[in-house]
Symmetry: D2
């Protein structure tokens, strides 16, 4: 089987993980990654012996990379020419510029949640609308919170129907090691409705959604509480059983020791997962309650890694490697080792 | 007019503020406060020149107080004998023991949210059930979150009816200066439903309530998001107008600079409020949204001071100083300077 | 006695406190304060009923102030013409621009630590070099950390001589309510030597100083550890006795309950100090240790308020209200209530 | 070659890493680990397929482990009988109890910094006093801060002599995922001198040491500033060159992007190190300054993993696998991959 050739633009928090995720797919080949400066991530790549080739988006300005002794394999344009599809994980706004290069060489691309919706033909989520991505040239992924949220809402929606949701996003404000942003001893509120609720309605137009987002001074995982009005009244246990079946949802409990977002980060480290990452969202069994017919529950979103599987799904859809949601997401899961721990 | 004589047991975070609040009431007299050790609060009382008499709950064990040079005016029992009613703000569980002393001398008492409900005859909230407290001997106040939450829910309920609420409590984990508890770079989830939702139903049995509580590592104010199903469909502007009328609710906006809980603390400090306290909860105008008929909004709870007005209300009810909710809460508000800034 | 007329430019964290401090001096008159926008501080001024007149630095652009209903008493230029001296607490860099206005009207000015040294004729500290400020037209105050640090070093230097100091500044990264800067779950190191060590040598050129600064995600007070090589070998108790005598140093202990910077903030709130401010630095008795002849100790710097007294001292020096350090600082202390709690 | 058989008691933060470290040594065999409850770490071990055998310290009380489906290979006593030496990483105080079991079966043991010094015959540090550990039955390792600190001080001491040190420890207060302790928006000071300074003098009695410790609300790495009086005056560059040669010290700089403790954690994650761990301390090149002859510099201590190499060294010394410091530490470094990135 011919492997799909993939490049990654932007070797930051998301880009690194996309590269690692693609490298795990037997039916894909990671041609290389592109970045512009000797960031810590690029320095770590060098210290590891350059397992991935590095291309530079600024071929005329390599002094800093050279000084740091980072070997360069060519320009971003060189990389684009060698691939079938690009995953663009550059800073918000750069993707739109890069799209010109992708277009120039007739290559498909997948953009991240930070880009404007107009950058892409399809606003994509592996589980919620895989089929819309089939053969598309430009796809944009949902952001980390929306990706995780839609997994949970779509999961219930397919079984019992979802009428409306009201979400509260308790957002981690920075990633571990971030020094360019932060919040100290403060909660910060955004104007409502949160974009995640709006985005959910774009992907799942049959569901009404609203929400409030509060930033909190922590780094390991967002927590979202969801109030969901189902079409069909189900019990707490039935809801949990539905979540248990989803490969990308981990059902956990406080009694087991999962006391919050930091427990999940610790658990992923103890599992030996690279970087302490987790692809699954977690759903707390002990958080599921009802008010009338409404279900309320809390999920944890590992912001650095949660979008990786759906990005791989996007490659599968765009390149038509698998023609339906079930087989596309299953292949991704298989190579990422997702769901294997569920008997 | 004869002033009602009040004593305060426990001179900690809440006790100090109760004492200050009582001292502001023209129709009450603060006889004294009781504590057991030379805490920072007691040391500050001394440095201020003992504006309040200090009684000790452990009259046989005053070595530490003596060594710190704190003058003692008698025992807790002495204090109890001199008052008409006690406000008990001791640590959870101590109130139940102190009740024996109050009983012994036939004195009424008001307990705080940390005590078990069984300590009291009435579970009290100044706005939601003032009349239930009339003449009662033992009242228990709702906790800080529940007190603030009920203000907002009761306020809407009286105008349009509230069917059910689903709350997400984003809880500050410690007060400024707390060293005996804390949380570092972690969100922590409690088992659902939160006790605040349950407590709300005790006070307002006609409303169905559930909720999830998440602890966050901050010290200035809880934020609660509320999804409320009203009996009557109202617009966002109508909801805001209702909140605007409540004396103990401040309607604020992000555009004015109220970016989160810490903005409200800063504002209260800049107002010159003692300790930077605020008696009002804040409601963010820009957080009010709708999903179907449901209203969603966010409120800020200044945890150290929010219960003070309702405690004063409790004295008024228990001592039958005012016979109805409207006049009881109005007197409290007048002396605490609440609502004066609303034209 | 004719009162010295003072204006304050910039009504932010420092400016507000300068205004309050000046207003407490019987021999000074606060003419007004200047700011440009309806910040929370300006909104609080309005809610308090405009105890201080507000002038605007942007008289052609008052739309936002007008919309917020803030009454304006004139322009910054109007204010400058009515005063003898200006305290400039605007954002770093603005002071230099404002200096043109002060010059135009022949008015003296005191700038804050954020401005470049070249803005002023004298780099000033009330205790370390009061006499240098006598009659000066433009003075620049040391920053909050340097101000507090010099108090402690100068205090020992005058008694036993200081040869050299090596400091570690454990810096609070933001003030309560700051949302424009922050740090989350991270310590951040600056390049050494820290500017505070360099500044100390400018003010006290006979002392050699170096230091390292680490930012920490907290809001209540910097802590500085000082390793000081004295000229004369003294005991720990002798050192403590010297610190005890300084009016602007509070000697505290862990045993009393002062467990860290947040305890001091709490204590100041419990004292009823406006905004929970404290003018004194704190020195932990239980932190004073020796290594050979070297003394090591830790001090707490209340960053929002520590520079206020030395700013008032600067007015006294510049206006030649008192001709020497002892009488100048004593008058400031008297009106600010500093040191009264020391018998 | 016969492999040394090692067991690990306590499978927590340190125990897990000890197990992983031992498993990497070609001349050692990890027989198993012991714990008492289905903690998250033990659950992760199970999800990974039990790469290490689990023994239980409470063989009569296995209900919780059984319920969680964790297979048990025997009791702690069973484990002890199968090994040559135990690494005890149980909670402070338990090690002393466990020592009875080790004694009963005539097995050597290495205890961690939390145990009292009296638990062991030798207070050990791989670089500072390897030879003292040769053939010893019971060794106690220095704590994480002391271990890292001594690396740096010993490193300079061997080259130029160290007379005295004054340290400021800016301590992370909890590990990622800790919910049983924490600190929120506060710095906390301990009574001086810090135990780390005292411990340094126990290991290096020819050096005078004192220090102050401040707890900070972060989770990724302690930072220590050291003021060191060398016997011989050396330049900043000479000092850096000395640190560069030490295999367990990484010399980093702010210019490269290492802005603080969180940068090092991020870098270790990006390196792909299991759990994002780093065995080396980091020393900031840009922090090294001088005051007179004194050197001042800052180091970063990765608290979860820094003691692992010295623990392995302790096995080598106790079992007399290598007879001197140089060869003992080199073998440890080789198997842990330490220093390989230094050309």
């Amino acid at each position: 089987m011919k492997k799909i050739k993939v490049g990654v633009a932007g070797y930051g928090v998301i880009g690194q993980r996309l590269a690692d995720g693609v490298a795990l797919q037997d039916d894909m080949e990671l041609v290389g990654v592109a970045d512009v400066a000797p960031t810590l991530s690029v320095r770590a790549l060098k210290e590891k012996g350059m397992p991935y080739k590095l291309f530079t988006a600024m071929p005329d300005n390599t002094a800093a990379l050279d000084e740091a002794g980072i070997p360069i394999s060519g320009s971003l344009e060189d990389l684009v020419q060698q691939v079938d599809i690009m995953l663009d994980a550059t800073s918000a706004g750069i993707g739109l510029k890069n799209k010109e290069i992708y277009k120039k060489y007739g290559k498909k691309a997948v953009f991240q949640g930070g880009e404007k919706n107009t950058v892409a033909d399809v606003f994509f989520h592996g589980y919620a609308n895989y089929e819309k991505g089939l053969g598309a040239d430009y796809l944009k992924l949902t952001s980390c919170n929306t990706t995780g949220l839609i997994r949970a809402v779509d999961c219930l929606d397919r079984e019992v129907g979802a009428e409306k949701v009201a979400i509260t996003i308790i957002r981690r404000v920075a990633d571990p090691g971030d020094y360019h942003r932060g919040l100290t001893n403060a909660l910060k509120i955004d104007k409502a409705p949160s974009h995640q609720a709006v985005d959910l309605m774009t992907i799942m137009p049959h569901v009404e959604a609203t929400g409030i987002l509060i930033h909190t001074p922590v780094t390991h995982g967002h927590i979202i509480t969801v109030v969901l009005t189902p079409k069909k009244d189900i019990s707490v246990d039935e809801a949990i059983a539905i979540f248990e079946k989803h490969p990308r949802i981990r059902v956990v409990s406080i009694d087991e020791g999962f006391l919050g977002n930091a427990s999940l980060f610790r658990y992923a480290r103890d599992l030996g997962n690279p970087r302490g990452d987790m692809y699954e969202i977690a759903l707390w069994k002990d958080s599921v309650v009802k008010s009338g017919k409404d279900l309320m529950f809390a999920i944890n979103i590992p912001q650095e890694s949660v979008v990786i599987p759906e990005n791989i799904d996007a490659i599968r859809a765009a390149m038509e490697m698998q023609s339906d949601r079930e087989s596309g997401t299953s292949e991704t899961n298989k190579y990422l080792g997702i769901g294997t721990w569920k008997k």
